[in-house]
Each structure stands twice: as C-alpha cells, then as structure tokens.
C-alpha cells in the first residue's frame, strides 16, 4: 500500500508509525473550523475517557487548507485531567495526529486519507466526526463507535432529531430514492458523523472509485450505499438534535444536490444488478433512546425558493426537455405557471421526475454534472410545495408524509426500471 499510496505525506506516515496499532480511530475533516474544532476534540477525548478507557485510540485531523489555526488548535487543545489530580483519566496515551493540505481538497480525498490511516494503524473501528456540527457530544461518539467496535457493525449511520425544515434533501429525495431502489431504510445519506468497522474501511479504500468525481464529492453517501449493497452489517444510531455551525444558504443547496444526488445516481449506475431485483424495503436496526426525528421548525425564505424554481424551469427548458418525458415536462411547466398559493409539486410527480433524472443520468443523455444541476430548481419546487403543505403540520404529520413519499417511490420503482432500461 505504501508504495502506491503516495497521497499520504511522510510526516503523516511517521506520526502514524508512532501511534502504531489502535482499536479506535476518529477522523475529523476540517476546513477553517477554529470556532468548533476545540470542542469537537474535547468531546472525542471525553468520550474515550468515559467509554473506551482501555482502548488504544487516535484522533486524526485531515485539514483541507485551513488558514485560521484549526490544526494548531486541534493539536494543542487542552486534555481533560482528573479533577483531584489523582490517577488517570484514561489508561492509555490519546494520540492526536494531523495532516494538512495547503489548499482546499475534495471530501473524497480527505475521506481516503482517513481510511488509509485506519488501515495503516489497523483500527478495529472508526468514526468520522465533523466540526461543522456545533453540538457534538461524547455520547454521540460512543453511540456511533460502540456498535462498530463491540457489535461488529460495518457501517453505523447517524439518526438525528431535525426540525421539520431541516434535512429536506434527505427527506424528499435521498431517503425515498435509496429506500425504493436499494430496499433499505437508511435515513441519513449525507452523514457528517458516521462510524464503520476497520474491515469496511479497508474494503472502501481498496475500491477503484477514488478518481470518480461523484465519490470525491460525497464519499459518505457512497459508503452508506455500498455498505448495504454488499454483505456488510448496517445500523443507525440515534444521536439527538443536530445543530450546524453555519447556516445553509442557497449556494449550499446546489452543492448538496450535486454532491449527494450525484453520488447516489453513481451508486445506482454501478450497482444496478443489486437494486434492480429488490422490491419493497427493509428497516435498518436502530440503537439509541426513543426519539422523535422531527422537531419544531426554523424560518425559511419561501418566496425566494419559489422564484428560483420558476426561473430555473424557464432557463433550463432545453435541458429538462431532454431529461424528462414529455408528460412530466409538460406537467412541470404547467405547475410553474401556478400562483404561489395554489402551487403544488406532489409526491407522484416528484417521484416520476426523480426517476426520470436517474434514468437520464444512467443513459448519460448529457453531461452528468449539468444534468444533476438541472434537478436543483425542480427540487426547490418540491421543497416549496412541502413547505406550503406543511406550514401547520405537526412532527408526526411530517413523518407520515415522508413515509407516504417513500411508498410512492417504492410503488413507482417499476417505472424507474422501465426508464432505466429504455433504449433511446
């Protein structure tokens, strides 16, 4: 491996050599996270001290060109000591290892470094924790790592309690699409915190995918999907409420769709032999306390979302025409003429739209990145419709709607296969 994998620099390798074999590895990707990296590493080490006192542990920071002192803070954040200064807080040395790129790099490259580190130190279980989540707690890390380390689960996805307008891409597209195609009910396809076994880390590292743009953009989506495409054991761990250090903006939505939908479509493309024959869907074992997945809302700028939908449908007409069926395209154009109050992009039309995009991606009717970007305005239309419909809905009603959408995706799966296999 060392001879081939020259993407690990010598200093990083030397640090890993000194760490030696470990039981647990935590990877923290970072990019200008000085505001939160300190609390993140504290939470990680506190979790070690509370839950893994005997284990050999290392925390690896892979930094994508921070200029705000993130890495320095990671390395120098204070270690918690026993209050009375007597005895050890944990039995072993808790290593911190950092490597940094001088410039911004894609998430896939960061992920690959973490997986390589895991393989080199022969970690039995690993977790990736993002400093973007501003409320990481020691119990999060324990909830993710314990199934991977003690129960030999290969991929542990998080399950967050989100306010009803948070995670809309997952709720409206990624979750229903994955559930319908791959037949597994995994809620978070874009996790910023997740865990995996050392075995799964090696498996992922050795797949010939790292040059793929889609994987480079959203490796966690690929890992999640691949975990249930093969015979790996998958579970979800409920972590509680998730808070972001930065608020999502319009630009983030474009990027999120490009990255995660791109990765999902790529997985569908590469794993069609797996999902084509699957019908229905199976629940994934979930650990953690009783939980509510949906909580109270935050305010969103709905008017702007609707305007972006309308302008997108108009500007991208040529592209949409080549992607969508005439009936679907006509319906999209029709609803784009409706006024704000009467607008609706319902589950049936949305499912059909998403499937036609997936099939077009498969058939490569045009540049795949352009194709996925063309989905963004339609996704905004779906979100606007969702917000309109659920303005007064309770968390339970939102969950019921999500379930109904998933069932619609599952119901129309034959249509997806038909479009997928169509020869044009």
């Amino acid at each position: 491996l060392l001879a081939e994998e020259t993407f690990l620099d010598d200093d990083f390798l030397r640090q890993l050599m000194n760490v030696g074999e470990v039981d647990l590895l935590i990877g923290i990707p970072s990019h200008n996270n000085v505001a939160t990296i300190g609390t993140t590493v504290e939470a990680v080490e506190e979790s070690f001290q509370q839950n893994f006192v005997r284990e050999r542990v290392v925390t690896v920071n892979v930094d994508a060109g921070s200029r705000d002192g993130t890495v320095e803070l990671f390395l120098n954040a204070a270690v918690r000591k026993n209050a009375n200064g007597r005895g050890l807080t944990s039995l072993r040395t808790e290593h911190r290892v950092a490597t940094r790129y001088p410039h911004t790099v894609l998430p896939g490259q960061v992920c690959r470094v973490i997986l390589s580190a895991a393989e080199l130190v022969r970690a039995k279980a690993c977790a990736v924790i993002s400093p973007v989540s501003s409320n990481v707690t020691p119990s999060w890390i324990a909830s993710l790592l314990k199934p991977a380390y003690r129960e030999k689960i290969d991929f542990v996805a998080p399950l967050y309690s989100r306010h009803k307008y948070d995670g809309l891409l997952g709720r409206n597209l990624l979750y229903p699409m994955t559930r319908a195609t791959f037949g597994r009910r995994l809620r978070e396809l874009r996790p910023t915190e997740y865990a995996f076994s050392g075995q799964f880390a090696s498996y992922c590292l050795n797949q010939d995918v790292w040059h793929e743009e889609e994987i480079a953009a959203s490796p966690e989506t690929w890992m999640a999907v691949y975990s249930f495409c093969s015979d790996f054991r998958v579970s979800q761990a409920f972590l509680g409420k998730k808070m972001h250090a930065v608020t999502s903006s319009g630009t983030d939505i474009v990027a999120a769709v490009r990255q995660s939908v791109g990765a999902l479509f790529w997985c569908m493309e590469s794993q069609q032999s797996v999902w084509m024959g699957r019908t229905g869907s199976e629940a994934i074992p979930t650990t953690g306390p009783d939980h509510e997945l949906t909580t109270e809302p935050q305010r969103l700028n709905r008017k702007r979302i609707f305007e972006l939908f309308r302008s997108g449908v108009a500007e991208l007409e040529g592209i949409l025409k080549s992607v969508l069926s005439p009936e679907t395209h006509a319906e999209i154009r029709r609803i784009a003429t409706l006024d704000e109050k009467n607008f609706r992009l319902g589950g049936e039309l949305w499912t059909r739209t998403a499937f036609e995009f997936a099939a077009a991606y498969h058939r490569a009717v045009l540049n795949r990145d352009h194709l996925i970007q063309a989905l963004v305005p339609l996704y905004r239309g779906r979100i606007y419709s969702f917000l309109l419909e659920h303005n007064e809905s309770s968390p339970e009603e939102i969950e019921a709607d999500t379930e109904a959408l998933c069932l619609e995706f599952e119901r129309q799966k034959p249509y997806l296969i038909e479009r997928w296999n169509a020869k044009e």
Partner: protein, 546 residues
C-alpha cells in the same frame, strides 16, 4: 540542617527485603533463623545489595506474620536468640550491608502483656495504653482497611466489657499515642535496637497513630508531631539512623511525612508500583509519567522507596476504579489471586515468566528516582502459591537448590512453616539459586550486573529525572542527571520491536556509551536520535562529552 555531616547512605542503597523465617533454616526445625541467614550473607553480598530490610522478627503469636508484636525487646524463639541477631548484625556490617528492621508502632498483638494488663481492669495503669470506648460509634469516618475480614474498627473485649480500637485485624489493638508513656516506651524500643547496631527502621502503618473525632483518623497533625519527636531524638542520639515510612497514600499526602526533612528520611512510593505493571501491560508509558508528574518534590535529604513486589498483596488502594479493574482483569483473572484491594502474586508469575518482561520491570525499578527494594526470591524469578491463604503465597521458602526442600531446610517437608513451591515451572527443582549461579546468562546473573550498574553511578540514586516524550508512546525514555553526569535510559514497553526518534538536541555533541557492553553509539547531533529496540528491551547510556 538535618542532613549535614551524614552519609545519606539510604539514598544510595539497594535494599533486599526478606523474612528470616523464609530464608534459611539452620537447626532443621522447618523455620528459617538468624544463624541460617548468616550463612547466606555471602550470597547477598555477591548479589550486590547493600541493605537488608528484615520483616518482623520480634516475639509474636504470628497471627499476622509478626506484625502482631508481643515483645518489642527480643527475638522470636523460632528465629534464634538476641545473641544470634547480634552476630547476624555484625556479619552483615562486615560485608557492608546495612540492616533495617520493622517496628510496628501503631498496634500490638492482643497477646502482648501490655494489652493483657489493659484489659484486665479499667483501673489498670496500662489501661490507657490502648484506645477504649463504651460504644462502637466513635471515629465513624475512619475507613476499614481489611475489608475482607473486618466489619468494624472496633472490637468488643468481653473481659473489660468495652470496645477497643483497631485499624487492622481485631487481634491487633491500636496503641494510644495520646498517652506519653506509650511514646516513651516505643522510644525505648527504638533505642534498644539502635544501641545493638541496627541502621534504620521501617515504621509500619504510620498514618494511623492518632485518632480524632470527625476525621478519617489518617495523617493527622498529631501523628506528624509524634513522628517529628521520634526523629528529633534520633537525630540527636543516632544521626546515621534512618526512618522509612509505610504510608500507603497518594504522593501528595505522603509528602507531608517528609515535612521539612524533619520527619521521615524515606517513604514508599505506593502508587508508582501498580502503574509500572500497568504500563507494561498497556504498552504505554502514560501511567508512569502521569504518576511521577503528580509526585511532589521532596527535601534533598529525603528519598522515595520504590519496589515491584513485597510481602503484601500488590496494593491497588492508590489507583482509580478504572485502573483497579484493569489490573484485576490483566493480572488476577483467577479470583484466588485477589486479596483485599490487591493482587497476591509474585513478580515472575505476573509477568507470565517472560524473562524479558521481568528484566524490563527491574530496569525501571533500578533507574527510576528512588531507592529500590528487591523482594527475596524475585532475583531468581520465584513463583507463588495463591492457594495458601492470606499473603502466605508470596512468603514461601527461599529456593536455594534443587535438592531436599529446595535447600531451605533439612527438616521433613511436612514440618516446614510453609510448603515450598514445587510445580514444574516455578518449583525449586526448576528455579533455584544454585542453578542460576552456574549460568552467566541466568536471571540471577543478569540481576547482579543490573545492580552493579545501578551502584556504578549516584545519578540513579540522587539525580534528577527529565522525561523525553518521543511520539512513540510505547517507549519510555528519560535522562537522569546529577551535576555534569548524565544517563539516558530508554525502555521499550511493548512486546514488539519499536523504532523511536529522541529529541536529544539539548545533549548535542555528547556520545552515548551503552552501560552494559560499554559500546559507543553515534554522537548526538541536531537531528532526532534514532534508536531501535527489541521487545521489552532497555538501554542505559552514559552520556559523555568526549
């Protein structure tokens, strides 16, 4: 200043701890004795030790291996006579070996005439030599030490119909040091043995001398005052004599027993010992470094006493619950190995008889700050017998040869005070002094060279310690320094070979000379100094500027 004009011999000592009963039987009664011990002094001299700590040998009913004294001014008849002891003392001194004896200040046996008098009537003059109460609810904050056997620190005396105070076994009533007559009597006992020629005392159970309501009855100011007065008298009359404290406490609490250099000369560093074992099992230096970082500075004339194993269980009182659980899981999987809050095993079995691990721990013992104590038999890797009850499993006869009773005694085996170890791995047929003396590569021979290295430089006994912190946590490296003399010690705590880069820029220009083979290593420069170490391997380098 207290230390001026003194040799501070105890700082440079390598102490060998033994019980006369266990060492050599000269009169074939199955019990070791002083004439037998005299026969073995040449062996101890050859080993290289220069002090012996004798466990209790005063008259006693032996319900606690002599820690239940019934006469402070004589020798237990099983071990010989007072005259035998004097001969032993002279012979030891002729060989340059100092003698430290045990003095149990805190309590006596309930068979001691003082206690018999005290309990005989409430009006007896000796009554106030012990701590009595009409109820058993005084001093409730005091913990019970022997949790496995005692329910209370008070015991009912059916003769005088009242309760007496005991911090240890109920047959060991505590003396009342609030009574000046008790103090004076114990001083007379000290003087008695010092006049004969002993070099120091290991004072047993020191923290418990005084009792006060509303306290833990440990480490009280009144206890320190008692110790200070003993020390003052000692300094006046016997300035070369040494006091060693048994205070199983955290270093910060033990520190008070050094005071301003006017209480104890030495004290055991109890928390370091389990952490040396922990570090080797974890393959991680963290436990050792953290406990030494939590260890306060002590006056120049004072010294810590460090040890790997002794006559008691490997005490786990001074560790956290997490650490204790780990030690039990790793070193005492069989419940029979556990006693009180500790592990009743010897060094070699704890190390799975791995010669490399035994050596590593001994290197740590000899190179850490403090005066090292070797427990008898550990220099040849003796085993234990956890089925003997209490702590008797680590107090079995010394194994001198592969013959009758391992050379310990010519008595019938049934008559021995304890069955010798006789299993195929650790039995006297396999592990004994004779066979190891024949081989230059035996553990015994290796121990001799290690002790010789330790004694070759006062850096080990008096020098400062500075930990190096290479990135490889499996390597424990430190520099000991005294004046211009410097010694670098590097230990691989792991079962696998390790490479380590040491930042030795501070010693640029020095040449490391390996202390066993006296080979020169490359001169230290600006770049990290690379060393590779085999499993559990150690290096000690004298750093010379040539």
């Amino acid at each position: 200043v207290a230390e001026q004009g003194r040799s501070l011999w105890y700082k440079d000592a390598v102490i060998y701890q033994l019980h006369v009963r266990t060492f050599c039987d000269s009169n074939d009664d199955g019990i070791g004795d002083f004439p037998g011990l005299i026969q073995k002094l040449d062996y101890l001299q050859e080993l290289g030790i220069n002090a012996i700590w004798l466990m209790p040998f005063f008259p006693s009913p032996l319900r606690d291996d002599g820690y239940d004294t019934s006469d402070y001014f004589n020798v237990h008849p099983s071990y010989g006579t007072l005259d035998d002891f004097k001969k032993f003392l002279t012979a030891a001194h002729q060989r340059g070996i100092r003698i430290i004896i045990e003095l149990v200040l805190n309590h006596t046996s309930d068979q001691h005439p003082w206690f018999q008098e005290a309990r005989s009537s409430r009006e007896n003059p000796k009554r106030d030599w012990y701590v009595w109460s009409e109820t058993d609810d005084r001093y409730k904050e005091a913990r019970i030490i022997f949790l496995d056997t005692e329910m209370s620190n008070w015991a009912w005396d059916p003769i005088s119909k009242s309760y007496y105070w005991h911090r240890f076994f109920s047959h060991q009533p505590d003396l009342n040091f609030d009574n000046p007559a008790v103090f004076e009597m114990m001083w007379q006992a000290m003087k008695f043995w010092l006049d004969i020629g002993v070099d120091g005392f290991r004072l047993d159970a020191v923290p418990y001398l005084a009792e006060r309501e509303g306290t833990s009855c440990e480490n009280l100011p009144e206890t320190h005052a008692i110790v200070r007065e003993f020390r003052r008298r000692l300094d006046q009359a016997y300035p070369e004599a040494m006091l060693l404290a048994e205070a199983n406490q955290w270093p910060a609490d033990v520190r008070a027993y050094f005071a301003e250099g006017d209480e104890f000369h030495m004290a055991f560093h109890f928390p370091l010992m389990p952490r040396m074992f922990m570090a080797v099992q974890l393959e991680d230096r963290k436990p050792i470094i953290e406990i030494l970082e939590q260890t306060p500075q002590i006056p120049d004339a004072c010294q810590w006493c460090i040890f790997l194993r002794n006559h008691d269980e490997l005490t786990l009182e001074m560790v956290t619950d997490v650490e204790r659980d780990y030690m039990y899981d790793e070193y005492a999987k069989d419940k029979a190995m556990r006693l009180n809050a500790g592990i009743r095993r010897r060094l070699a079995p704890m190390m799975d008889n791995d010669r490399r691990r035994i050596q590593l721990l001994n290197v740590l013992l000899m190179s850490m700050p403090g005066t090292p104590i070797i427990y008898y038999g550990d220099e040849i890797g003796m085993g234990d017998n956890v089925y003997l009850g209490d702590r008797n499993g680590v107090r079995t006869p010394m194994q001198w040869n592969g013959g009758w009773n391992g050379g310990f005694s010519r008595a019938d085996p049934e008559r021995l005070y304890s069955p010798p170890i006789s299993n195929p791995v650790y039995g006297y047929q396999a592990i004994n002094v004779d066979s190891q003396q024949r081989s230059p590569h035996s553990l015994l021979s290796w121990m001799k060279s290690l002790i010789a290295i330790r004694k070759s430089s006062r850096v080990f006994s008096r020098g400062t310690i500075e930990f190096l912190r290479p990135s490889n946590h499996r390597v424990l490296a430190y520099v000991r320094q005294l004046g211009e003399e410097k010694i670098l010690v590097v230990n691989n705590l792991a079962a696998s070979a390790q490479a380590v880069e040491l930042d030795l820029r501070h010693y640029k220009g020095y040449i490391p000379i390996e202390m066993v083979g006296r080979n020169l290593f490359p001169r230290i420069g600006e770049v990290p100094y690379l060393l590779t170490l085999g499993p559990y391997h150690s290096y000690a380098f004298r750093l010379r500027r040539i």
